[in-house]
């Protein structure tokens, strides 16, 4: 197993030992030190943390993240991370111990049918029953995880196979007969797409994470610039197109930017690139962009027509399909159309953005904290978020001049994702600053990973935006559930003592005037840091499209 992982280029393993994985851990002892050293093993404090750390690692590095855990509870604890990686197309390989095959199906101690439970939430799951299968299964697992539309692979590794002795024969799987990761691009579809774009008066591109996964950021720029097409990005696609680019018109979705949400209902040609029309983007799909001809570029054929019907579908890797279309595009200019975004942007800036990032009175707001951190890091940092208001404010107000700069749980919306993903990101991009925004809810959902941060001295800059509420649910309760705040108010521990317990430097900001200096102190401190910000309790994320409503029903303020 060690040799097989080495052969796949694995360098960092996030894991947690246990009874059924002891032979692997015994081997890891040799392979993490001395002359055999091949890996860094990061001991997490909970197996869910191992999977999110592997996700964070994969997201920023573009490599496959790897987690090793034991059977039974160790394995089930990884499932949230596996499902998260499935929905967000993140390449990770989880290797879990299992009882020996002779004991399978007998309810043996710490036995769980991992392949069975992982099947619907993983790209591939497989049980390695004998040692001679290891080289093949590991190579196949990494090939499947990283190729095509990436995703999580689960390897169930019974103890007998861990103990059997075989000679290692390296395998390199680069072909699976039943799996076509990069579908051949249809020239006819490319031609039709180019024709629609050439004739468009009001084209709008929607950029998703597929661009980043396909390393097609340059191809995207060439495409957008040639035809002068404004582009919105999905939450996961935020760093696929630099924030500062003039064609960038902001973030899509429920809490995205106002202009682009309204313009989705006005454009004549909508070009979706490596995105899947999540309900958080489309609002009510029945009324979404009905006036537009839709072009959908995706590597995954099953995404075509799943939510939004497309007029032209170009199935394939956008690294190849974008240049193919660009070659057929006429140089174009859509100044008037692009200018029509500006008054809406200005309206949002006045009504929402300015009050959120430059308030002058009252308690601290999340938007201003994010904005201040974004300014202080000068766009160099990787953004990691947890889930909830912290995520929505952070993704809205952070800046992304560099590619592969965002780790967030978009599809599954996993609270507790932030802290372990940030640990993974520090290993995936050791030269970059990693800023992790969390709320008081999510901070406590994987709070045990402070132990990992302490042990590794992982330089995670944790910004805890504490409003003593599960803020996003509280916002919905206030807006749609007659202000009945059912179990969203939370009693919090003293985070200073928590940080102290783990030996992590800590600062707290309650006054606006202290924010900047506290952030500077955080960034100047080597290693990890917890910056707690006391946030206005009923700070709301705006604008907002109410769930299930049309994207142009987006609200700039909370009424009543």
């Amino acid at each position: 197993m060690m040799r097989a992982l080495q052969h796949e280029g694995v360098k960092t393993i996030f894991g947690y030992p246990g009874g059924s994985i002891m032979p692997v851990y015994d081997a890891l002892y040799d392979y993490t030190r001395g002359e055999k050293k091949a890996f860094d093993h990061i001991l997490v404090r909970h197996e869910q943390g191992a999977t999110h750390a592997a996700e964070g690692y994969a997201r920023v590095s573009g490599e496959v993240g790897c987690a090793i855990v034991t059977s039974g509870p160790g394995a089930t604890n990884t499932l949230t991370g596996v499902a998260d990686a499935m929905l967000d197309s993140t390449p990770i390989v989880v290797i879990a111990g299992q009882v020996p095959i002779a004991a399978l199906g007998t309810d043996a101690f710490q036995e769980v049918d991992l392949v069975g439970v992982a099947q619907p939430i993983s790209k591939w799951s497989y049980q390695i029953r004998h040692a001679e299968d290891i080289a093949w299964a590991v190579s196949r697992a990494f090939y499947i995880a990283r190729s095509g539309r990436p995703g999580p692979v689960v390897l169930d590794f019974p103890k007998n196979a861990q103990l059997e002795m075989v000679d290692f024969k390296p395998e390199k799987v680069n072909f699976v007969r039943s799996y076509v990761p990069y579908p051949q691009i249809d020239d006819e579809a490319v031609r039709e797409a180019a024709e629609l774009i050439n004739n468009a008066k009001k084209p709008l591109a929607l950029v998703g994470q597929g661009v980043e996964l396909g390393n097609a950021q340059q191809e995207l720029l060439a495409f957008l610039e040639k035809a002068d097409i404004p582009a919105g990005r999905t939450m996961l696609g935020l760093s696929a197109l630099p924030s500062t680019h003039p064609l960038n018109v902001g973030m899509l979705g429920m809490h995205g930017n106002y202009a682009v949400n309204l313009k989705e209902q006005e454009c004549d040609v909508l070009i979706a690139i490596g995105m899947r029309f999540s309900d958080r983007v489309t609002g009510n799909p029945k009324t979404y962009a009905k006036q537009a001809k839709v072009i959908h570029l995706d590597i995954d054929r099953s995404e075509i027509n799943k939510i939004i019907k497309s007029n032209v579908a170009v199935v394939g890797d956008c690294k190849a399909s974008l240049p193919a279309i660009t070659a057929l595009l006429q140089k174009n200019s859509h100044t008037e159309w692009r200018d029509s975004f500006k008054p809406l942007d200005e309206k949002e800036r006045q009504k929402v953005i300015e009050p959120a990032i430059h308030p002058t009175e009252g308690p601290l707001l999340m938007g201003e904290v994010v904005n201040a951190v974004a300014e202080a890091t000068k766009g160099d940092a990787v953004l990691v978020t947890d889930v909830g208001q912290n995520q929505l404010f952070a993704t809205r107000y952070f800046k992304y001049p560099k590619n592969r700069s965002i780790c967030t749980s978009g599809g599954l919306g996993t609270m507790g994702y932030g802290m372990p993903a940030a640990i993974g990101a520090t290993f995936g991009a050791p030269e970059r600053t990693v800023c992790c925004f969390m709320g008081d809810g999510g901070f406590q959902m994987n709070i045990q990973e402070l132990g990992t941060i302490m042990e590794q001295q992982s330089p995670v800059k944790m910004i805890l935006m504490n409003n003593n509420y599960l803020g996003n649910v509280r916002q919905w309760q206030d807006m749609f559930w007659q202000r009945r705040k059912s179990f969203t108010r939370m009693m919090n521990p003293c985070y200073e003592l928590v940080a102290q317990g783990y030996g992590i430097p800590y600062a707290c900001v309650t006054e606006r005037k202290d924010l900047k200096s506290a952030i500077e102190k955080m960034l100047a401190t080597k290693g990890p840091f917890v910056l707690e910000c006391a946030i206005l309790e009923d700070d709301n994320v705006l604008p907002m499209t109410p769930p299930g409503k049309n994207v142009d029903d987006m609200m700039l303020e909370v009424k009543g």
């Binding site: 049980q127 007969r177 039943s178 054929r301 099953s302």
Partner: protein, 185 residues
């Protein structure tokens, strides 16, 4: 709402443990009931064939096909209307010999339906009938109304396509070419 039709979905997969589970999970997630299911080795060594029937809309069957094909070990999934395929089901009926001797109409019904008596002993007769779902159910209902049926078993549908091209063979040939290219790299 769009009309629901009976579709026959043919799936070919590698012979790897757990594929059936993954295929049926696609139906469960999309809330489509499987009407009948037949799984067996196909004529191509190492390839398994699944014949699945279900009632759903055209839009749904397209989605099912895509999501089944998305599973790594699935080679191909195709859907067909009844007019695109030759199909049949088999059934076996166990009939009480004494009832049969008392009521001669029973034998006439068996003959009329083109069913075959496979074995007769003093207690029961085993009858075999192959045909469409309607043929089989009509025989069963007829005999059952006469109180003659002790047991009844019906298989899932099996079918071959009417098309002149063997789509799986084409696919496998294409993939074989691709494999050779990958080996060269």
């Amino acid at each position: 709402m769009e009309e629901q039709k009976l579709y026959t979905i043919l799936v070919y997969s590698e012979n790897i443990a757990g594929v059936l589970n993954q295929i049926t999970a696609v139906f469960t997630r999309r809330q489509v009931n499987i009407e009948s299911l037949n799984v067996c080795a196909s004529s191509t060594p190492g390839v398994h064939k699944y014949t699945i029937t279900c009632y759903c809309t055209k839009e749904m069957v397209k989605m099912l096909k895509m999501q089944i094909e998305k599973r790594i070990d699935v080679l191909q999934a195709r859907y067909y209307h009844d007019e695109d395929i030759f199909m049949l089901e088999s059934s076996l009926l166990k009939i009480s010999t004494s009832t049969m001797l008392e009521n001669l109409e029973i034998c006439r019904v068996v003959r009329h339906h083109g069913a075959r008596i496979v074995e007769v002993n003093p207690t029961y007769a085993a009858v075999e009938k192959t045909g469409t779902t309607e043929d089989i159910l009509s025989l069963f209902e007829n005999l059952n109304s006469m109180g003659a049926v002790l047991q009844f078993a019906r298989s899932g549908r099996i079918c071959i396509t009417r098309g002149t091209r063997e789509q799986l063979d084409d696919y496998l040939a294409e993939r074989e070419q691709e494999r050779r290219l990958c080996e060269k790299d």
